[in-house]
Every structure is written in structure tokens, then in C-alpha cells.
């Protein structure tokens, strides 16, 4: 039994490795990581648009927003593209004719994609952390000279943000895989995946409307009920600026709860992907 698990993990790791190598070579990945890096670096230049908020908060919001936006696009496109490339190029035929189970195939695809997303998130968060740290040093010096209280910046909070974002992109990747496992076309998977991400980002609005507004029609109420229970809540990961700038406002429990639910979402979505893919004709 132990040997079987070891062999299964070995096959999954090899599929993940090839998926990673394929994804990392994509021009789309290079383009988005460069574009996002340029956006993050340029965030300091746009600080005059801070709308009255603290300067570091603006930089953090701008950078975190860019990383999430481009990260979501990358996740949607790359996951669906790598899945459908295997089906349309018929490499899945060769692969699944080997003693490789469909679960191993999906787990390998997910792991390879998630590894690339890790590179994307950690590289950009590192750049963003550098930008924020540099500006923080200047602001601390200015505050001390003026006798004001200097702003806070937690580098460990930025690191925790990176981990949560990686988890969030993992949830999106698993969601796209679940959709792709039953979808017949790349475009369908992308469109439905994008709608699911949007719905996931609006979860708290849906939950609040469902709780507060008692005059909703049955259809609308059922729709909101379904959305709040079926679509993963992606909004719970939106604590990046608080983690970095006001770490005391975030309890340890909130970070752990978000991490745990992220892991559960990934597992459940991968199981759904596996069930959808189990009897798919290749």
C-alpha cells in the first residue's frame, strides 16, 4: 500500500514538473509578470492619488490590487489553457494510456500550475515589499523630523499576505479545473471561470443582502442562497493591507481561518474536478 502511494505521488510529481516547465515557458506568463512588476514598481509614482488615505496604504492597495487582478487573469487563462492543450493536442491520450489515473493527472496539472502561480505571487510580493519598505524608511525619517508618529509596516504581514494570495489563486485554479473537467471548450471554461471569480469576490455583498433584505423574491433569494454556498468566498483573503500596515487589527484566527478554508476549497474543488473528469471521453 505504502509503495502504491509512493508510486502515485511520483507520477503526480512528474506530471506537475512537466506542467510547470510548460507553463513557465509561456509568453503570457512572462508578459503578465513583467506588466504586474511594472505596476507594482510604479505604485510609488501614483501616490499623489491617495484620496486622503495614508501614502503606504495607497501603495499597498495599488500593488495588492494589481497582483490579485493580473494573478487572477493568469490563473484563469493558464489553468484552462494547460488543461485543454492536453486534450486538444491529444497528449492526454498518451498520458492516460499509461498506468496514470485521472486523479493523478488532475493533481499533477494543479500542482504544476500552482507552483508557477507561487513564482508569480512571491516574486511580485517581494518587489512590492521592497517598494513599501523603501518608502517606509523615507516616511519614518520624515515623521521623526516633524515629530509625528511614523507609519507601521510589517514585513511578516506582507509575507503572510503572499501566502494567502497564493492560496486564493490556488482556489481559483482548482475552480477552473473543476469547470474545465466538464467543459467542452477552452472559451467556455474561461468565461464561466471569470464569472465564478467575480461572484467569489462579491460573496459578502451576497451574504449581507441575503441576511438583511427580507423582501427578496423566492427566485432571487434562492439564487443568492446558492451563490453563497456553491461559489468559494474569495473575499475572505482580502486582508493584505491590514496584515502589512495594521497587523494588530487582524487576529491570528482570521489568517488561520482563511488558510484553512482555502485548503478545504482546493480539496473539494479538486474532488469535483476528478468526478467530472472520471468518465470524460478522451
Amino acid at each position: 500500500m505504502r509503495n502504491l502511494i509512493k508510486q502515485s505521488l511520483r507520477r503526480t510529481a512528474w506530471i506537475a514538473r512537466i506542467t510547470f516547465l510548460e507553463a513557465i515557458r509561456q509568453r503570457f506568463f512572462a508578459f503578465l509578470i513583467l506588466l504586474s512588476a511594472a505596476l507594482v514598481v510604479s505604485s510609488v509614482s501614483f501616490r499623489f492619488l491617495d484620496f486622503g488615505h495614508g501614502e503606504l496604504k495607497f501603495v499597498a492597495d495599488f500593488g495588492f490590487g494589481g497582483v490579485f487582478f493580473f494573478g487572477s487573469i493568469l490563473t484563469l487563462v493558464m489553468t484552462a489553457q494547460l488543461f485543454f492543450a492536453e486534450i486538444e493536442n491529444r497528449t492526454a491520450l498518451t498520458l492516460l494510456a499509461k498506468p496514470v489515473s485521472r486523479w493523478e493527472f488532475l493533481a499533477g496539472k494543479f500542482t504544476g500550475v500552482w507552483a508557477v502561480l507561487g513564482i508569480f505571487i512571491f516574486t511580485l510580493t517581494f518587489i512590492l515589499g521592497l517598494v513599501m519598505w523603501g518608502r517606509h524608511q523615507e516616511l519614518v525619517a520624515l515623521a521623526e523630523a516633524a515629530g509625528r508618529v511614523p507609519p507601521d509596516l510589517s514585513i511578516s504581514g506582507v509575507a503572510a499576505y503572499a501566502l494567502l494570495q497564493w492560496l486564493r489563486l490556488g482556489v481559483i485554479a482548482a475552480m477552473v479545473l473543476a469547470i474545465s473537467s466538464v467543459a467542452r471548450s477552452f472559451l467556455f471554461a474561461i468565461v464561466v471561470g471569470a464569472m465564478a471569480v467575480l461572484a467569489g469576490q462579491l460573496q459578502w455583498i451576497a451574504q449581507e443582502t441575503l441576511l438583511k433584505d427580507k423582501d427578496l423574491g423566492v427566485v432571487y433569494q434562492s439564487f443568492l442562497w446558492l451563490i453563497t454556498r456553491v461559489i468559494p468566498n474569495l473575499q475572505q483573503f482580502n486582508i493584505g493591507d491590514a496584515l502589512a500596515l495594521d497587523v494588530s487589527s487582524v487576529t491570528n484566527g482570521a489568517v488561520w481561518a482563511a488558510s484553512l478554508s482555502g485548503c478545504i476549497y482546493i480539496i473539494v474543488l479538486l474532488v469535483l474536478a476528478g468526478l467530472g473528469f472520471r468518465r470524460r471521453e478522451i
Binding site: R10, W14, N89, R90, L93, T94, A97, P99
Partner: protein
Amino acid sequence: MSVDLAITVQGLTKDFRVGLAGHKLRAVDNLSLNIPRGQVYGLLGPNGCGKSTTLKIILGLVPATAGKVSILGFNSATSEARRRTGFLPEAPYFHKFLTGRELVSYYARLSGVAEGDLKSAVEAALELTAMTEAGSRTIGTYSKGMLQRIGLAQAIVHQPELVILDEPTAGVDPVGAAAIGRMILAMRAQGKTVVLCSHLLGQVEQVCDRVAIMDNGKLVLEGRVDEVLARRDRQVISATDLTAPAWTAAEAALLAHGAKDVSISHPRRSLEELFRELVKGSRDA
């Protein structure tokens, strides 16, 4: 179930649902086949006759609507069966950034070849397919013939007992096709069973021991190549040192004219002729 059979197909039926109304399209209709071990077996038929679907069901890639398939005594959908099987799909596509050697190593690992045996297994597969030198090049630089050969290498790297080849010579020039034919015979010499799907009937005739011809999802003929090509409704008179006037005489007269080694046997038609005759009504025959 006989241990001498590599593949057993019993009453295999496959229906596809097409269109919004879900109309039933029968791709394979109550097919039964017994493919003996250690032989080269040709599965022939016009486009759309159900042979690729049959292969996919045998490999566990598509579920059957009805019927049973076993490979070397194992249910074909199990990994036990797939561990003993090698497969080359039609017009194979592989990751272009890998070298041929990396690709074969990758598939060897997926097939369960132990790390200690990996290098020798990969080199043996590359050698059999004449890809040892080209193995260091990336797949993006390969010609069509080389792609087929590296595909063949990945199919046999784990020393499977059964090798299934779907159109292994499609798009390959005659020299390359002949080389692939020799590789198939080499595999048979090693005791492997080879199932071959091809439209190149001349090649099938040369390398196959048995053939099955499908049309409209049904089996229309199955047997040894020599047997199915013999025309038992006619006789042929053959002789050596035959002079021109003897052509017009009867068998007795031939002997009288000094011909030697006169014999009567069944004349042979080509596999291509037989195929055309059997699938005459089909669109793409």
C-alpha cells in the same frame, strides 16, 4: 480465459449521444475479437468505422456502453492492464521543449520503470527506434517520421507485452514507413503482441499475422492474412520454364509441352482488393 490471448473483446458496443436531442450514434456494434499473444494483428476499416473507438475502449480511455474487454487477463480499465500495454496514438504530439531522451524518460517514469533501470530502458527504446543520436535534440526540431519513432520509443520503453499502434506510418515517407515496419517485426521477434491500425494495406499485409476488418462498427472479416487473402472459388496454374504456347493449353497440355513443376493452388488477391470489396458501400472506402 485463455492465457494465449493478449486481448479479448466480447460483445462490445459503444453508443455516442449527438446533438441537443441526444440522438444515439452507434460507433461499435456488438464486436467480439480474440487477439492471440505474440502476433502482429491488423485492425482495418474505413474512416469512421469504429476502430479508433475500439482502441480507446481497449485502452480504458472511453467507457463501453456494453460488453467486456480484457488485456492479458486483466480488465482493460485497470492500471494493471495499462502497465503491460504500450500505445502510440495517431499523429502524436509531444511537448516540444523536451528532448527525445527526456520525453522517453518521462513516460518511462509514468509507466513505473524503476530509477535504477531507467537509463538502460530509455537507451534500449531509443536504439530499437533508431533515435539514439536524435535523442539529445528537442522534439520541436523533429520531422514527422522522427516524431512517430520517438512516439514508438515511449510506447515500448517499459517493455510492455502488448503494443497498440494507431496509424504508426501516417504522413511518413516510404523509407520511414519501411523502417517502422521492421521495428514492428523486431517487436514480434521479442515476443510482444502488436495491434496495428493502418490505412497502408500493403504494409499491413507484409507485417500482420492476422487481420480484422471493421465496417459501420461491425466486424466483417477476421482471420489469418494468408487465409483471408486466398480465393477459394478459383484455381491458378503455376509453372516454371513455361513457354508462350502453353498459356493456351490445358493443364495436361502444359505437361505435354515440357513445362516443369506444374501445380494448382488458390490464387491470392491483395489485402487492398479484399478491403475495397468488403467496405464497398462505405463513404471513405
